[in-house]
Symmetry: C2
Subunit: 359 residues, 2 copies
């Protein structure tokens, strides 16, 4: 279903060009990379018209991009609540609005995560059956595709059992549509794999997700531990936003530490510096495999429309990855499929759990 | 204060030789390594006398070890509650009992973590002012000493604000006595560094720990994120047992993933295999730095006596590291210092918080 039959929107993507630490030049450079590989895509670009026209002309992508001017810019330090109230007229707001109005399938921004989520919630609204939207990230893994999905990594304070069930359904749908895994294996993050371990809401969610698996067309592998996140045992990792955020940043921190120690080890002596030269291609191969820019793009799930958040500090390669991910999700009609799936399966799981508890 | 002036116990260590996946031969091999570097230490060894006598004779450490026979062995699959009730007569029980009776300063076991904590709680009892004991681990870091301390990693379901304060005090004391950091920097793990972020108990704990810092003789750096765990920004990371356990295992999982990908990168082509040979010493230097066996040893804090849990799958090097850590803590009189510190500082912090809230 990669034939675009799901997308009736005139634009594939609606891009906020002004967010991010590196300014619109980097966003447009990433866009040019993306368009080179996906020449059929059409993009709506929001931001300062003068700056954008210059950048778009420089990259020679005028025929594939429509620039729409907006005066305001959401800054990284702006408070989400402020942006929600006074953000109309910013490029971020306009980028989301285009998805709401059906002009584009997916919105992409490198801007302020909190503000992006707040405006998305207000303008796109939560999908039916979703109480708490989530942010899903990709995690390098030993699986064939090279990545696992984890959600929620959005730093939301907690999630109850029904939220965790919704995350399982949304995560499975994301893995199917964004990563082409027909029957994703879903695991629930806990401090042990035994059924009696963990918090109360985890035990209830464990039962509910198991019941929802056949209807949701995924395999439920039960509780998993932190060590399983990058493993072959699972495709989708479900957890609350607090734990997910800590795990994500711990993984990034560990990868950075190891990278730095590896560099130091190769710089220690003259001989090791020669060894590093000879090992250059091997090390490059390794670096490419764990390059965080390749996994750039947190996807907001559970709204009436898909929003992809690119890292604020993303370079052109990183922006390109986020745009490609967004494009793939838009092409698969992900948002509509997800909504249908969640509404259906949540109802069934809650019914069955109620039945099981009353019998 | 490494002159042993604090330890009046006749034995430096009380070791459960029967726990662990690799059996008593590995524990005794680790013990021999430890004694070679610390010839003044005297060790009480618990387990099957016949097996232990053979192993001890083989390693020629008879003059430094007293073997004490016990019939029972706690298995990895035994339920903590069962061991608590019927575990008398096991080597694990006897090893803890020797600390309770003042025969040894510190207990070390490779056995079942849950059972070890349960029996330790029952026999050693919680120290004054401690409501929830914690397990602290060492984490490879960019700090000069090479490690940070994180607690609780014990998979306890949650911790309230007073527990988190106690963890801060205990963690600081551990860093001072076990790692020789005179004024440890303590951080509280959260999903952002802004003061308004995170769960309610984290905000209260944030205030309480800040107030307790002068009395506890540590510096409080405030909220930190997952990426700071292996960083230079902090020495002690405070968190609840659920989050800490997930973070620890996520870090281990990420390190394993990277190790595997690095290996694959060097095996890809004939040329990369040659490069690997030439890079051998650099890679060995790197491996040594991130070797998990060097950080083996979870320390139980908040009991009347110190208990060190070595990894169940530890080899002789790993066991040796855990024994050395335990020895160092015993020599510094850690347990008594910790108890005094916690009782004092908790009282002050709670008083001051009450005053601040009522004024």
């Amino acid at each position: 279903m990669q034939d675009g039959s799901f997308t009736s929107a005139p634009f594939s993507l609606s891009v906020d060009a002004m967010g991010g630490d590196n300014g619109p030049a980097t966003v447009v450079a990433g866009l040019a990379r993306f368009l080179k590989r996906n020449p059929d895509a059409r993009v709506l670009l929001h931001g300062d018209k003068t700056q954008l026209e210059k950048q778009v002309a420089k990259r020679k992508i005028e025929d594939k991009v429509e620039i729409r001017h907006s005066d305001g810019v959401v800054k990284m330090k702006d408070k989400p609540s402020q942006v929600m109230r006074h953000g109309k007229g910013t490029s971020m707001w306009a980028a989301i609005e285009a998805v709401r109005d059906g002009e584009a399938s997916v919105c992409v921004s490198c801007g302020n995560t909190g503000a992006l989520m707040a405006v998305s919630m207000v303008r796109l609204r939560k999908a039916e059956g979703v109480n708490r939207p989530a942010i899903a990230c990709l995690w390098p893994s030993l699986n064939k595709g090279g990545f696992n999905v984890m959600l929620d990594v959005g730093a939301d304070i907690r999630a109850d059992h029904e939220d965790l069930l919704t995350f399982a359904l949304m995560g499975a749908s994301y893995a199917r549509n964004g990563m082409d895994i027909q029957r994703p294996r879903v695991g629930l993050l806990n401090v042990g794999t035994e059924e009696h371990k963990g918090r109360a809401e985890l035990k209830i969610a464990n039962d509910m997700i198991a019941r929802a698996a056949p209807q949701g067309e995924f395999d439920y592998v039960g509780f998993i531990e932190g060590g399983d996140i990058p493993s072959k045992n699972v495709d989708v990792i479900v957890t609350d936003g607090f734990t997910g955020n800590v795990a994500l940043k711990t993984g990034e921190g560990t990868a950075n530490l190891i990278g730095q120690l590896l560099k130091e080890a190769f710089k220690k002596t003259p001989l090791s510096r020669i060894a590093a030269l000879l090992a250059y291609t091997s090390l490059q191969r390794f670096r490419k495999r764990v390059d965080p820019r390749r996994v750039n793009g947190g996807v907001f799930l559970g709204l009436n429309g898909t929003v992809v958040k690119s890292h604020g500090s993303a370079d052109a390669t990183g922006v390109g990855s986020a745009l490609y991910l967004a494009y793939q999700l838009g092409q698969s009609g992900f948002s509509d499929r997800l909504a249908a799936r969640v509404a259906q399966a949540t109802a069934v799981a809650i019914d069955e759990t109620a039945k099981a508890n009353s019998s």
